[in-house]
Symmetry: C2
């Protein structure tokens, strides 16, 4: 059907000149405790779903924001980045206010800016930083419990610190990667990543692990922390980490540390 030569029954994107489709970049902080993770899932509250729903209500457009990467259930973010297309002319600054009005208080939009058309939250990322918090005191304050792994038993900090340095550089991290349930078996994941820095620091009652790299495999940071824990307990020696890397075998490494301690700190472009 046409009216004044405009096809009214064409899909929405046909009616909008490409130059009018905006590419928006949002930065998000979230407490992941009560979510099934970043990725939208049927019948479970996800960060991606909450943001998509808020955008839908504000702009009347159905979009699925693409994150810099998925965070697992219970994992937090200080500055996750996502991109999405939008036709609406609502100013980016107003979008921050409108989305925060609708989102649960556990999810906040910190910033929203116009991005170049070819910018993509995941594909354009050059580095990401994650932090893992381990609470070392005997009794974990209830106000921290959602954001740390409470581990009050003896640990050799110097050994953990030494081990953490051994994964810096370019390596095949297969030994630290969980099988990703979202990917088919016929879709192998390239497992080589570059870790720019990997450090443990002590602060107040916590051991903090911070890792910056060009990309991370599924559960990689939590599996590294679980392995450094074995070094801290003297079950492994620091140099065993090099052997585990070389094994290319998930069963060579330690258990997956709890999600609560992990936080995506920032994404660099």
């Amino acid at each position: 059907m046409t009216v004044n030569n405009v096809m009214l029954d064409a899909p929405a994107f046909c009616r909008i000149p490409f130059s009018r489709m905006r590419n928006l970049k949002i930065t998000l902080a979230y407490d992941g405790t009560d979510f099934c993770g970043w990725q939208v899932q049927p019948d479970a509250p996800s960060i991606q779903g909450a943001v998509a729903s808020a955008i839908g209500r504000v702009a009347g457009e159905k979009v699925l924001p693409q994150g810099s990467g998925r965070t697992d259930a219970g994992v937090h973010a200080l500055a996750q980045v996502a991109t999405f297309p939008l036709e609406s002319v609502i100013p980016a600054a107003n979008l921050v206010i409108a989305l925060n009005d609708l989102l649960p208080s556990a999810v906040r939009v910190l910033e929203c800016v116009e991005a170049p058309a070819d910018f993509h939250a995941r594909k354009s990322a050059v580095a990401k930083t994650y932090r893992y918090r381990m609470y070392r005191g005997d009794i974990c304050p209830p106000f921290l419990a959602r954001y740390v792994w409470h581990y009050p038993y003896p640990l050799d900090f110097a050994a953990m610190s030494e081990a953490s340095r051994l994964i810096e550089g370019e390596h095949d991290f297969t030994s630290f990667a969980a099988v990703d349930p979202e990917r088919g078996k016929d879709e192998p994941v390239p497992s080589v990543r570059t870790v720019f820095s990997s450090r443990w620091v002590q602060q107040d009652q916590e051991f903090l692990y911070e890792i910056r790299g060009n990309g991370f495999l599924h559960h990689m940071v939590r599996n590294l922390v679980g392995t450094f824990l074995l070094v801290g307990k003297s079950t492994l020696k620091p140099e065993d980490v090099t052997r585990i890397l070389a094994a290319h075998d998930r069963s060579a490494a330690g258990a997956t540390a709890p999600a609560s301690g992990l936080c995506l700190v920032n994404v660099e472009y």
Copy 2:
């Protein structure tokens, strides 16, 4: 029925010499967000119920710990105090560990000590301190949202500070007291309390209100904060607080501030 002259069907307390009944004092920290408050209620998770259930599982005794006072749904505590009788000889220090193993991570036993027989968490208290946190930044970090009232609009801090000082001393606080649904109409509450100190301070992105007094009426701190807010907005002048105190009328004061910002800081004996 008697065996060797011992009545086996007597109630439990008859079989235990009074000298063997311990009076235990526990200090608790909790994130009240997901609880219906301190007081046990049918079909709703309460702090008192969680602690009673943990004691029951550890010691096999059915006791209901008596708190220094009830905290409302969503209100937190850094050091709530409760007392309960116990027959079990389990050492107090072990009880801390055993209870924390069973309690949800949002509730922690910080200390457990033997108290004199006549010590009572509520009746023996001589002073309590509450703190109210108001977050003033434009965007409230999701990691603080459970513990503050997010109020980003303009407020006159100096006026709020001046008003807060006017309630120090002994006053009838009827204007700031909610009707207590737990008390019968025939059971009037004496409404005179002494406030030892009442102060607003600014810290980082927050306005913090701290009040220390010999006792608090139902919703009293939250109603005071709601009234100081009206002073901060210039709806009221600081000296109006004196008029509101004198009115002995709840409708003269401001609205009840949200529970999330309130925390019982400590109890003095």
